[in-house]
């Protein structure tokens, strides 16, 4: 019995198998956001349809649901009705804002006309807001509390349950 070989071999085997096992089932494309717990990067962007400039600061004082999406993204079609319905139900107690990037105003307008909307949608033309929020794919949704701090983030299409769970955090419950 060669103990050196055994020891070194066992070490390698344990390390390799252990790490790979822990890695199983994780999605390598899901990035943990370092923005959690920080104040959301401020922006003022043009609203689709009205041309008004909407700034994030103007919503201080209530929780904000910040949804990054695009018309070329499949799952965004899936979650759109969820967002619209919840924004209607919650009324003015929570502010919903859609941020569209890598897209054209014309397509967004058509999307909103076809599928309805109940909250403002702004367009991030050079994609800089998306970069500041560390967007890796769409849809991604940030939840801000009333002080403008990011308290939750959801990757992929939202369900009403996801929304409620994150909003609870944003409302400080």
């Amino acid at each position: 019995m060669n103990r050196t070989v055994l020891a070194v071999g066992a070490l390698i085997a344990l390390a390799v198998i252990g790490i790979l096992f822990l890695g199983l089932g994780k999605n390598p494309n899901q990035i943990e956001s370092p923005l959690l717990g920080r104040v959301a990067p401020s922006f003022a962007l043009r609203e689709v349809g009205t041309g008004k400039t909407i700034g994030l600061e103007q919503f201080r004082g209530k929780p904000v649901v910040l949804n990054f999406w695009a018309t070329w993204c499949g799952p965004c079609y899936e979650e759109h009705p969820v967002l619209v319905a919840n924004a209607r139900n919650l009324g003015s107690s929570v502010q919903f804002v859609g941020v569209v990037f890598q897209d054209t105003e014309e397509k967004i307008q058509r999307f909103l006309n076809d599928r309805g909307s109940s909250y403002p949608t702004v367009i991030d033309e050079a994609g800089k807001t998306a970069i500041a929020y560390g967007i890796g794919g769409v849809p991604e949704t940030f939840f801000l509390d009333s002080t403008g701090k990011i308290v939750g983030k959801h990757d992929g299409p939202l369900t009403t349950d996801d929304l409620r769970a994150n909003l609870a955090k944003a409302m400080g419950q």
Binding site: I12, I17, W72
Partner: protein
């Protein structure tokens, strides 16, 4: 019907390989000749069943039998016939069946070639092969079954992954990769057999070396094909991104190359037995690790199959193989007696040891860089990346050191050498180093790493060319006719030696070409409209127009450019964007004008057909084509070393002639001392 037949065959192969493995190991214990005969029969049966299963699948694909699960998943009536044929390896289940086919063929051939020899080792070797075969049969029969029946067969299917259809290289890259990957099972089995028996005799080195050499050749070429594919398809003008899956193919190549080198020392000196065996086993384990990386979805890569459920199963197999290997090594490695010893320090044996050290270091660095993000996530839950800048920083110096060794290693004599001898061997090639780096400097190379690579390359080239033709020159001096000398020194008896220098020469060109092409490229991004011309790197590139082309399986937007130099037209390039039904985003397909000096590479960034305007990325990269050519030369060199030479075919082993060093010790003498 096809589905049922396929499932039956796979179940039979699971049975045959399991029973065969048990019989083979039993025969190994009892040393029964009859048992070995039966093990061989089971090995042939497994090969036959795998060929039959693949035939059924190909038949189902070609006849568009959508009642077979895999066909419903990747088949389509609209794709060309060649795409249908290669669909076998376009998706997970089919690729595992393809693995089984290649494993069957390898096992069949290896069993046939060793049928009358090496009785001591073969039962256990066949046992290990068939055990691996049983695992893959299990995968095909269960977790990755391509022969599932579809209750309500669709009329047409979606067709295979568009990336596969997009370029012919994607049709030939996977078979080469599989031939390389799967083939490593054969030397692994032999190495395990040697450990089980606790003996590695000199006679068994030949099949061990040859069975390692053949998949090594395929792996070498497949790594190049993968890089070439990335270059031709991905549109960023590079061929290697240190992507986890690219790394996965490189890892076993590194340990395999190390094993081929340590085996040279083993054959000559009778030392490094346990080490060589360890390297061969590591090669197979890294193959399985690579398979896991490609198929588990744990790693983020362009090449991986996403969403697969077989990750845990392959991990289980990897764990079992690791435990088996480590247990074998720990209990048996000390039984493998060293028969010889080293002489002197700075001699060729020492260089081989350093070669092995560097290859192991490279393996470790690439492995740690690839899995490190997983380690960190497991420790603190934070995601991080290890990418190209890391690998470039870490690997380039080691690559340069290896190039240095290709130079000084073969220049040094075997055995003990005097200072004067060493000086005489090492000083003259400095001329080559000065010459080549001087030429590079004159042509505009200023990057210090590139200049250093050129110097090492020149040094190594002079040594290699000298060693390559030295036996020929000596025979000519002795008075042989040119024909006789050539046959004797390079094509016949001395062919293995000659071939190894061909591989070295090609490797030198590859390393130099990589260094030059990665540091000397220039690029420009342009927005052009029809009729507009621009000058890039001495070429005049003119946009003739943009058009749309419809094919049954895709729509293409093609931009047509002419490339001219000094007023003479050299090429028409058609970079395009291909839109496949199954994909939202179009796949860019660059076009390349290749010359011996360098490539002019056009890749579309955006297209506006109405305005006849395109955004194009023009990249000028020197020496790229030499990478592809030289890697093919490495393969040819490897093959030349493999083909049996008439006289060696009769006797079991003929020592390699080493005219440069009269102090050659025959293996028998070593054993006796």
């Amino acid at each position: 019907m096809n589905a049922t037949l396929g499932r039956t065959i796979i179940l039979a192969s699971l049975l045959v390989s399991t029973a065969g493995a048990i019989i083979a190991f039993a025969a190994g214990r009892t040393r029964s000749r009859e048992g070995l005969k039966w093990a061989q029969r089971f090995a042939y049966a497994f090969a036959f069943l795998m060929i039959a299963a693949t035939a059924v699948m190909e038949y189902a694909l070609l006849t568009h039998d959508f009642s077979v699960g895999y066909v419903a998943q990747v088949g389509s009536r609209t794709v060309p016939v060649w795409v249908t044929i290669v669909s076998l390896w376009s998706s997970l289940e089919g690729s595992i069946l393809f693995w089984g086919l290649i494993l069957g063929i390898y096992i069949g051939i290896a069993t046939w070639f060793t049928r009358n020899d090496y009785h001591e080792y073969m039962p256990d070797a066949i046992g290990v092969w068939l055990a691996s075969a049983a695992f893959f049969s299990f995968l095909i029969a269960g977790p990755a079954n391509p022969f599932l029946s579809v209750a309500n067969p669709p009329l047409d299917g979606p067709g295979p992954n568009p990336l596969l259809q997009n370029h012919y290289l994607m049709a030939i890259h996977p078979p080469f990769l599989y031939l390389g990957y799967v083939g490593m099972t054969i030397p692994f089995g032999m190495a395990c057999a040697a450990l089980i028996k606790g003996r590695l005799g000199h006679g068994f080195l030949k099949p061990l070396r040859e069975s390692l050499m053949l998949p090594w050749i395929f792996l070498t070429i497949s790594i190049m094909l993968g890089g070439w594919w990335a270059y031709e398809v991905l549109g960023w003008g590079g061929y290697w991104a240190w992507d986890p899956v690219e790394n996965a193919s490189l890892l076993p190549w590194l340990t395999g190359t190390a094993a081929l080198h340590s085996m040279v020392v083993l054959e000559r000196r009778g030392i490094l037995k346990g080490w060589t065996i360890t390297l061969i086993q590591a090669t197979f384990l890294l193959v399985i690790l690579g398979t896991f990386m490609t198929r588990s979805g744990v790693f983020n890569s362009v090449h991986s199959f996403t969403q697969s459920s077989i990750g845990p199963t392959i991990l289980g197999f990897l764990a079992a193989a690791l435990v088996f290997t480590i247990a074998l090594l720990a209990t048996r490695i000390d039984l493998l007696e060293s028969e010889g010893r080293l002489e002197g320090g700075v001699t060729r044996e020492g260089m081989f040891l350093f070669n092995n050290l560097l290859f192991v270091l490279l393996t470790f660095t690439v492995l740690i860089g690839t899995v490190f993000p997983l380690v960190v996530e497991a420790i603190n839950g934070k995601q991080m990346s290890v990418g190209r800048p890391y690998f470039d920083r870490m690997v380039v110096p080691v690559g340069a050191a290896l190039l240095f060794l290709i130079g000084i290693g073969p220049a040094l004599p075997w055995g003990r050498a005097t200072r004067a001898q060493i000086r005489r061997a090492l000083l003259p090639p400095i001329g080559g180093a000065i010459l080549v780096s001087g030429i590079g400097f004159a042509l505009g190379v200023r990057n210090p790493w590139t200049l250093l690579t050129l110097a090492f390359g020149g040094y190594a080239a002079q040594v290699t060319l000298t060693e390559m033709w030295l036996p020929l020159v000596q025979r000519l001096k002795r008075g042989d006719s040119f024909g006789e000398a050539l046959v004797d020194a390079n094509l016949g008896r001395g062919r293995r030696r000659f071939a190894s220098y061909v591989v070295h020469a090609a490797a030198i060109v590859v390393i130099v070409a990589i260094a030059v092409s990665s540091t000397m490229r220039s690029d420009v991004e342009l927005q052009m409209t029809r009729g507009q011309a621009t000058t890039v790197a001495g070429y005049t590139v003119t946009l003739l127009g943009v058009e749309e082309r419809a094919e049954p399986h895709r729509m293409s937007t093609v931009a047509k450019f002419t490339v001219a130099k000094n007023g003479a037209q050299r090429a028409v390039l058609e970079p395009r964007m291909n839109q496949y039904m199954a994909m939202r985003e179009p796949i860019g397909s660059p076009d390349v004008y290749t010359t011996a000096g360098g490539d002019l590479y056009l890749s579309l960034m955006n297209v506006d057909i109405a305005r006849q305007s395109v955004g194009v990325h023009v990249i000028n990269t020197p020496m790229v084509v030499w990478i592809w050519i030289s890697v093919i030369m490495m393969g040819i060199g490897g093959l030349a070393a493999l083909i049996p030479h008439r006289r060696t075919a009769v006797t079991n082993y003929t020592p390699v002639v080493e005219p440069a060093t009269p102090r050659y010790v025959k293996p028998e003498e070593v054993t006796a001392s």
